[in-house]
Symmetry: C2
Subunit: 199 residues, 2 copies
C-alpha cells in the first residue's frame, strides 16, 4: 500500500479526531480530496480561527470566544443560583436540557488524587474567589454521578457550608456511573428540578 506522503499525513491527521479510526480516516481523506476540497479548506480555516479565538470565560470558565461568555453576560439569568459542572460539555448539556436559568461555574474535571489532580488543578480556588462578596442563594453541585464526581461534590460542599451558602446536589435521577454530557435532556432537567440539599 503506497499512499503518497501528503495523503498519508492527511489520513494520520484525521485519525487525531476523537472517534476516527484508520478506515474512517482513509475514507474521509479520499472524500475530501475527490469531492469536497472546498469543505476541507473551509474546515482548515475554521479550525485555525477556533483554536486561536476560543478561550475561557473569565467568570464561569466555560469555553468562550469573549472574555465573558454569553451566559454570564445575559442580564436575564438568575444570579442567585450557581450550577457547578465538570466541563464545558456539561454546560451545553444542561442548557440543551433547558429549565435552568441561573449561572454556571466550570471546573477542570474532578478531583483525582491518584493523577495528581487536587483542588488547585481543578479550579477550586477560582470557584471560591468567584463566590467571595457575591450574594448567592444556592449552589447546585452538578458534577458527574460517578465516584469521583460525588467526592468532588462533597469536597466543595464542605468548603461552602461554613460560608452559609445553601448547597444542593442534582437528584440521582441521573444514572449512577454515567457521564453528564451523554444523559438525555429530560432526565437531566428532572434531576436538576429534583435536587436535594447536601450535608
Amino acid at each position: 500500500m503506497s499512499f503518497s506522503p501528503l495523503i498519508r499525513q492527511l489520513i494520520d491527521a484525521l485519525r487525531g479526531l476523537p472517534g476516527v479510526g484508520p478506515k474512517t480516516a482513509q475514507r474521509m481523506a479520499l472524500n475530501l480530496l475527490e469531492r469536497d476540497r472546498d469543505v476541507a479548506r473551509h474546515l482548515a480555516q475554521v479550525l485555525e480561527s477556533a483554536m486561536d479565538g476560543v478561550g475561557y470565560c473569565q467568570r464561569c470558565r466555560t469555553l468562550s470566544e469573549t472574555d465573558i461568555c454569553n451566559i454570564c453576560s445575559d442580564p436575564r439569568r438568575d444570579d442567585n443560583v450557581i450550577c457547578i459542572l465538570q466541563s464545558p460539555a456539561d454546560v451545553w448539556a444542561v442548557e440543551q436540557a433547558g429549565g435552568f436559568r441561573g449561572r454556571y461555574f466550570v471546573l477542570k474535571g474532578h478531583l483525582s488524587p491518584i493523577d495528581g489532580r487536587g483542588p488547585d488543578e481543578i479550579g477550586i480556588p477560582a470557584l471560591l474567589d468567584s463566590l467571595t462578596g457575591r450574594e448567592v442563594a444556592e449552589v447546585i453541585l452538578a458534577t458527574n454521578p460517578t465516584v469521583e464526581g460525588e467526592a468532588t461534590a462533597h469536597y466543595i460542599a464542605n468548603l461552602l457550608k461554613p460560608r452559609g451558602i445553601k448547597v444542593s446536589r442534582i437528584a440521582h435521577g441521573v444514572p449512577l456511573g454515567g457521564e453528564l454530557e451523554f444523559i438525555d435532556g429530560g432526565t437531566l432537567a428532572h434531576a436538576l428540578a429534583g435536587r436535594t440539599p447536601i450535608l
Copy 2:
C-alpha cells in the same frame, strides 16, 4: 442552546466531514478545544497542504502529489496489464488486496446518462489516448459490480475489442451490488485472479 459563533462554525465545519453527524461534530469540537488544540492546528495545516498539493497522476489519473504517481513511475510494475477502476479509492483497495502488479487507469466514476455523465465526463477519451501506441497485452475492467459498473465495463470492452486488445472483467467473486472499496482484500484478490474474458 447558545454556542458562540466560532464554536458553532467549528461544529458546522466538522459536520462537513463524511459520516459526521451533529452529535459527533459537537463532541469533536469540544474535544479539540478542551484537549487537542495542537491536533486541531496540525489537522488544519495538513488539510491546507493536502488540498493544495494533491492533484491527479497525468498517466493513470489517480490522486497523486507528483505529476506521475508512484505506481506509474515504478519500473518493476508490469506495463502489459492495465486495470481500469472507477476511483482512486479502488486503486488503494486493489493495492491493499495485493497480487496485482500491472498498471492502473482511473475513471471518474461510472457512466450515468441520467445524471449527464457520458464517456467524456468519466474520462473515456483520456483512457483511449493513454492506450494509443502502447503495447498492452490485457485490460482488466474492474469497475464496480453494480448495474452502472457493468454497463461501463461493457461500453469500454466494445471500444477496445476492435483494437485487438484482450479485455477481461474481474470475476464475480465480488458480491453483486457492492462497492469495490468496501470489499475485503481476499475476495478482491480472488476476483482479480479469477477474471474472465469479456465479449
